[in-house]
Amino acid sequence: MDSTQACTEGFQESLVAYLYDECDKTERERVTIHVARCAACAGELEALRSVRGVLDLWEAPEPTLGFRLVADRDRLAPWWRRMLEPSWGLAAAAGLVLVVAVAIVSVEVRFDPNGVVLRMGWEDRSATSVSTSLEPADPMTGVSVDGRVPWHADLDRLEDELRDVFTREFLPASVTSAEADRSALLLEIQRLIEESERRQQQEVAVWFTEFAREFDMQRRADQQRFQQDLGALEGVTDYLVRVSQR
């Protein structure tokens, strides 16, 4: 390729692509051949390389970042999930158990001339009712005529279901992965702290050296000024001596 043709503005793009090694084989060969023949372009390429070398010296300061997102769970979670939060969930579960238990045993409290009547169970009421004088009935009186305890099995089933729900909702399935993430985060934080400490030590060393350098420069300047003033004073003294000797 003719040198004049190559050194057009279009060649600048090829030169930059060559500089950053982002050109195809054909273009690379074209630039290599041209640069070998054209001193101007060879100099230009060398100049661009040296600028790149200097650019490495500009380093960004070490920031103190560390901002993190904190989930606003009340806003993000759906209402049913919010209801399963530990405090809400436990309260709701306790209430639910109470309601279900009351429903199952069908508690009925009645005042009559014989005293307080407390009746439980859904079987034949006459069979399960007990009349006492302000004495609460034995919970086991909910036993039906045929001797079955109908609500025990329901309560057990309910308890199992609640346990399942709590296990699912409050114990995350990915405990292991969460722990791994946490340990990775801790390692990262530890690395950052160590880096920061090392950097601070370097900074202190740099600061002291700069201070010593400036102090030394100031001392030299003062010394020089002092010597100049002394020289001037000596000149004046000589003049005065000479004048007085006349």
């Binding site: 930059v16 950053y20 982002e22 200097v54 010296l57 960004a60 992965s177």
Partner: protein, 207 residues
């Protein structure tokens, strides 16, 4: 266990803030350094960085994986930087760095480098940042994305929304201006290169 960005994005989109925080830990520094180099101000760079991640989190539902997560956040941060410069009508401020990361580029061995070397590097770094601040923001952005973030020409073109050839031209012009200004500022060891005709005038003025 180290999850990929895509996996973390999927988890975060499902409401896992911890997953998103892992993405923040992974990408906050590159985003911050990008904003710092474009704006030249530490505080504002930090704000931009935080805002970029907040916007990313809010927009997770709409992010369908059409680009990499990092490219997406880069784009958000660059738009925020552009808005900041436009809104504030401020020029990039050359702010002397109080600290810098020696290992960022992996070119400095902190054990073998003396304190004097560090000081020389710091002085030179300040000179470079000062000269970079004089570049037009388009050229500066392209140089930053290429030099400090290692993006390809194509990635840069997609990020800044311009043709591939424009990226190369901006890079060439920016580097040429830098070379001239650095040589004028007395930095030794720079090759003279060729005189580039008709340099574009920097539109960003120092305050």
């Amino acid at each position: 266990m180290c999850r990929t960005d895509e996996e973390l994005v999927a988890l975060a989109a499902a409401g896992d803030t911890n997953a998103f925080n892992q993405l923040v830990v992974r990408w906050e520094r590159p985003i911050y350094t990008l904003a710092f180099r474009v704006l030249g101000r530490e505080e504002d760079a930090r704000d931009i960085c935080q805002e970029a991640f907040l916007r990313a989190f809010r927009g997770l539902k709409g992010f369908k994986g059409q680009a990499r997560f990092s490219s997406w956040v880069y784009r958000i941060a660059l738009n925020l930087c552009r808005d900041w410069l436009r809104r504030e009508k401020r020029a990039t401020v050359v702010q002397p760095s109080e600290g810098f990361d020696l290992n960022e580029q992996g070119i400095v061995d902190p054990i073998s480098e003396t304190v004097e070397d560090l000081i020389v590097r710091r002085d030179l770094g300040r000179a470079v940042s000062k000269v970079m601040a004089t570049l037009p923001v388009e050229q500066r952005t392209v140089i930053i994305l290429k030099e400090y973030h290692g993006l390809t020409f194509r990635e840069i073109a997609e990020l800044v929304g311009c043709p591939l050839s424009t990226v190369k031209t901006r890079l060439y012009q920016g580097l040429s201006i830098l070379r001239r200004h650095l040589a004028e500022s007395g930095l030794k060891g720079l090759s003279a290169g060729r005189q580039v005709v008709a340099y574009p005038q920097p539109i960003v003025r120092e305050q």
